[in-house]
Assembly symmetry: C2
Homo-oligomer: 371 residues x 2
């Protein structure tokens, strides 16, 4: 007997296939690498390499190993892999919970859905931590030092967001969903071209003859809101229309906030004839205010909104109700996740930036200005 064979045979062989029921195979004990190697009369080294596609293993052996792995339903223990490789095989999403408003970003669920696809395709886990925004830094530091994730997606960036220098300094791979005006260092991000979208939307209204155009925006410490406003102002400026603060609203993106903002504007001596709105949910409120005042959407007042294509807030079923600048948050999630994984794996060199263009969808909520 060569010194190579038999070594693993000498140990107990108590783990055998037990048939229970017609189509079920069960095992007397957990199947791990060592067990599998024993059954194949190979060393754990070789089995590991065979399964992980390393070149230094005979093709015939690899086949044999693969077959046995299937047969015995071998699933490598993730915990062991993580420890041995030092990789977490997981990425973290830190959901900031605004302590003031107690609001969970509604966009979040769909973004996650998109990112999740990418992760599961690549064998990564998605870790969520909900963190009150007053101690975000601690949360990120802990994530890093406990080594539970290989990278992080940063949600809802604010202006001069402190998380960006923080993560950079900690050398944690990260991708921002959105951008942070005022960041000193380059970083990776996926974002909608908010500025161009809102510029385009405003221009569209101007082209329809509107000159008194309101803006119902999100809170302006959020980066996207700043950009949207500046796109809106650019378009007005290019048409020589002055910005009127009385028809600019900025609030949480809820139905009621939209309603309130529109009510206020409609009560003005000269109400706007058209409105640009930052989210579908706000647009619902805006529409309600319009209709409650006996006006007709698209005829008396034009509304154009941004649409994140949230799955539970479709803009009509076949015909779009609102004219909208549309950009899928779920798609952004997919792309951000892809980007992060390629950064983690080291495939990507420097920071990657990806600007998604919003599509202009013509719906029934806009019409020409009539005196």
């Amino acid at each position: 007997m060569s010194p190579r064979s038999g070594v693993y045979m000498s140990l107990t062989l108590r783990c055998d296939v037990v048939s229970v029921g017609p189509n079920l195979k069960r095992f007397g004990c957990k199947m791990n690498l060592k067990e599998l190697a024993r059954k194949l009369d190979l060393s754990p080294t070789t089995v590991s390499r065979a399964l992980n596609g390393y070149p230094e293993v005979n093709e015939a052996t690899r086949e044999r190993v693969a077959a046995a792995a299937r047969r015995y339903n071998y699933q490598p223990n993730t915990r062991a892999i993580r420890l041995a490789t030092g990789r977490a095989m997981a990425v973290g999403h830190v959901i900031p919970l605004t302590t003031r408003h107690e609001i969970v970003n509604p966009v979040f669920a769909d973004f996650i859905a998109g990112a999740g696809e990418t992760y599961s395709r690549n064998g990564y886990d998605m870790l969520l931590s909900v963190v009150p925004d007053d101690n975000e830094e601690r949360a990120y530091r802990e994530l890093k030092s406990r080594g539970t994730v290989d990278g992080v997606i940063v949600h809802a960036p604010r202006m001069d967001d402190p998380r960006i220098p923080l993560l950079t300094e900690m050398r944690v791979p990260f991708v921002v969903h959105g951008r942070a005006t005022g960041a000193a260092l380059p970083y990776s991000w996926v974002d909608v071209n908010n500025r161009r979208a809102f510029k385009r939307a405003t221009e569209f209204l101007i082209d329809l003859g509107h000159r008194r155009i309101g803006l119902v925006n999100g809170l302006e410490f959020m980066d996207f809101a700043i950009r949207r406003r500046s796109g809106y102002e650019d378009a007005l400026g290019a048409a020589d229309i002055a910005v009127d603060p009385s028809i600019l609203a900025s609030d949480e993106m809820t139905e009621t906030a939209g309603f309130r903002a529109m009510q206020t504007m409609l009560a003005l001596p000269v109400p706007p004839s058209a409105i640009v709105v930052s989210s579908m949910l706000m647009a619902l409120g805006v529409r309600r205010a319009i209709e409650q005042n006996g006006l007709k959407l698209g005829r008396d007042i034009s509304v154009i909104t941004h649409d994140d294509e949230l799955s539970y807030l479709r803009n009509g079923d076949d015909v779009p109700i609102f004219t909208a600048t549309r950009s899928s948050v779920r798609e952004a999630g997919r792309q951000a996740a892809d980007m992060l994984l390629s950064i983690i794996s080291g495939k990507a060199a420097g920071p990657i930036e990806r600007l998604l263009e919003a599509e202009l969808i013509i719906g029934q909520s806009t019409g020409p200005f009539k005196g």
Copy 2:
């Protein structure tokens, strides 16, 4: 020199505190248990026990260890703990993605926010996997066999939900958010008393004099929708009012679906004078249809809706707009997570059940029936 001391001293001591900048301490290398033990001239065993609160360590020593751990900013490596203990210190949330409708449950984000609090307080991670509902079983099996989680929260149970027997058979600890009518075996769940809530809501309308009361419900393969309907029917039955299928709607819980359902009912020869609605989002659509038909909410038609207290869909700011049966999804998340952790830790014996009662909030959307 006693055989005890000096052993760990003999190895290199290359990991020392390096001062960089005024308030920053940095370390030349990663601080792990062995390093820490070396610094303290103790064995890893003792350090581990000291930090984990085991009794067989001198109080003075424990203090010393704790102080050193703080000083050197020691954070135990989670990957190693997981492997050594066999626990994953993580729970999984599997989000079913209905392949037909591509809808992510909007309730989901807030539930997660609630559950997340509990997890982080207890040192658990929250793992999310988004799984198309056509291969849920595989997803759950993999979660189990790869050992990435210690337990699972089941979302959006359907009637006779196959996941319940599956998880039971796999012996994975789980808690269902909601219930599954038709389950053969007992299991743990947290649910709102949907039936009583909708019975109560319907009774409330009956007490106001309404007799023609419609129901705008969610899809009726979802368990909660079944229960809500039966509560509604119970109340009607008790008042000797026949159920009229023409004023029963069942659809996805979106604004447009609510609008459509209400439109249809208002077009009937004898439209309902009151409506019970299954979600705020649908209620927004219902309201729109009502107002678009020139009717006034609460005066011409009464609406009572269920309100999950989603953070981005508040029912008014101070005064509630809709009369509603209210029950916080976030609170349900907290409780479900608590329950799961106590099951995982073995503190809970059998299946636990927790029925949350919804609160009836009187808003401005209901009023007495007038001819």
